[in-house]
Amino acid sequence: MSGQRIIEVSNLHFTYPDGHEAVKGISFTIYQGESVGIVGANGSGKSTLLSLITGVIFPDKGEVKVGDVAVTKKTLATVRQKLGMVFQDSDDQLFMTTVYDDVAFGPRNYKLDENEVKARVEEALDMVGIPHLIDRAPYKLSGGEKRAAAIASVLSMKPDVLIMDEPTSGLDPKSRRRFINVLKGFSHTKIITSHDLDMVMETCNRVIILKEGKAAADGTTLEILTNGELLDDCGLEVPLSMQKCPVCGTCKQGL
Amino acid sequence: MHMADALISPAVGGAMTAAAAGVAAYSVKKIKNDLDDKAVPMMGVMGAFVFASQMINFSIPATGSSGHLGGGMLLAILLGPHAGFLTMASVLLIQALFFGDGGLLAYGCNVINLGFFTCFTAYPLIYRRITRKGLSSGRIFWASMISAVAGLQMGSFSVVLETLLSGRTELPFKSFVLLMQPIHLAIGVVEGLITAAVAAFVWKARPEILERVETGKTMGDVSIKKVLSVLLAAAVIIGGFVSWFASSNPDGLEWSIGRIAGTAELEASGGVHNFMANVQSKTAILPDYGFNTTDESETSEYAGTSVSGIAGGAMTLGLAALIGLAISAVKKKKTVRSRQH
């Protein structure tokens, strides 16, 4: 661990206008280079937490710091340059007429020269493995291709931190495998929320469990995801790849 | 109710566009600093909504318009008058560009007819009056109904005025009004019901949207004095434009004024008409051919109903066709050549 604090979340509280208390005091620090999986049952506050980190909403109490800069209305522009957020629904992210334009959207907003934009688009599409889709219309893509395009649209901005909300939901097995391999190749600091605990196991070295708006546990992947009781208590299960074999019933070795 | 370019004169179009631009600039100034990340997408969504709802048409026989929902009141209620006006303006522009529904020159007219009277007249003078003492489902219902009907009546009357002042159609004032107003009364009732229903729903589901507008956060407060002074200024501007052009369109304006007031004709004086006459005579090659004038005495010539006129018309179209064929031939050659490479 290079030791540099990238994201610092201290004592966050947030309640929605309709009275629902989504986040009730969460604190943690993420260091550069870490891959952090944030897991929890539905309604535990994962998406709200991501919105707070990216400055889409602001906490009632507590603060978020990105690389030593507190996230406030005034600092949003600088802070967002460091964060790349991939939404759960790729359709929310892809709205231009071609994949090229969607991936170029970010760099163009940075007012980069068009040659530089082109280079970044091609690089980003290469990284996610869909360079051949560069001129396709997004609404004609399959789920996995859309997901890849959405990620590329964030990579082209060269963020320090990649934040992804349920990235494997809705993907077919091969697309999912492709995604996991791509993710393993990224050197960015990563924050991933997911229900796909097996994917989290393969790609993250640290896991934070959210339960009812609070951080119920925070440790290494191996520690957390092998702790059956803890997971059960938080409305989750041990990853499928660690459960008993469905055919012969034997436990996997080493557990 | 969308006015088409073919039915207006440049004078009316220009005047109304200037008026619309003025109101728009004012609205932009008012909301510029209030726009936040919640208001902006909301405006876009409401725009899309109004666009969709305007697709629902009821055709009105003989007036050549179709009646359809305006949506201006709903926009004012949910977004506030300034944002609502701008949203209506953007919806109308998309309709003009993509469907030719409402021309670009008539754009100003349409924006005023559908946007100004709802957002800046009916809304402050009626809706706000009724809901001043606070929101309740009853008040929202009646406020929406009455202001929607009133807004539509003003808008359709404005259409009548604009059409007549342009002088491109023959409908006498009285018949026009008698056709337009009652029909738009009926449409107004329908629109009022829908506006009330949607407003009530939003109030129940997301009351903060309506309350934001009420507390003036999105500038729901417009004073009567301001409204009246704007209307007065608009009348002056329109009057000025129209009288400047009047000399070049003696048939249009004086005809309609003559019809309405039964008075004698105005005198055609200087202005654009004489300017054009001068340019024409200076550049004429054959001085005795038809001058593109709007003077009624030369009807047969420029209507092309004289023999040379018809022949000339045929030749023009023929020439155009030849040019067209030439272009497509050149294009075909180009594509053949590029395919050969």
């Binding site: - | 039915l7 728009a24 997408p41 159609t169 038809g290 023009t316």
Partner: protein
Amino acid sequence: MSKIVESMYSIRMLDDLARKDTAIHKIHPAAKLLTTIAYLITVVSFGRYEISGLLPFVLYPMVIILLAELPAAQIFKRLLIIEPLIIGIGILNPLFDPRGWISFASIMIKSGLTVTACLILVSTTGLDKIAQALRTLRVPGVFVLQLILTFRYISLLTEELARMLRAYVMRAPLRKGVRLKDCGSFVGQLLLRTSDRAQRVYDSMKLRGFDGEYHSNGESRIAWRDVLFLISWSLFFIIARIHDIPAFLGLLLERVIG
């Protein structure tokens, strides 16, 4: 309801046409916009009874349609949809005026020309570039942003509408369309769901550095070709407006023959 969905898809068709790569498409959007406005003003300025003077003006749409390889049939189809409205009001002219047929014909020709001009503008430019042109012409960013977002959200709305309709129809197979009683909450739900979705789209734009200004291809410099386009067409419009070309040709013919 399906009519709404249909019209929204037809918008997409026009916008797709705008992505073609012909000489006309490459001309700067501001030049095309100004030329269109000049065209409209000149056409509309013809008096009530003018017909022959209008004829040369078919040249502009024809040339653009050919050079930009636009599907003429599609464009005329749209024209036909609008015409009934104009016919409705114009047809009264003959009733009130002995020369009414002439003014009616004049209106019909004008409406054909003006509507076609708008359609060819949008199919060679597309809304994004038109928005760019508006910014170049100093139209306030607030309004242009509104324009762009409304346009984008129309397709969001269509998708959501289609989705909700499908779900509704599946559970009411004997009914044709949405029941009046359900309309209120149907529409309300549609509004809320679309606005939630719109909020997310907008957030994703903001998170990628969107600051309200659309920075398109960066090729927003005006070239000589664009100026030439605007000036030559405007000159043609002015000449055709002042001099009655068909009458001129007719007279020429007379002189030659007689």
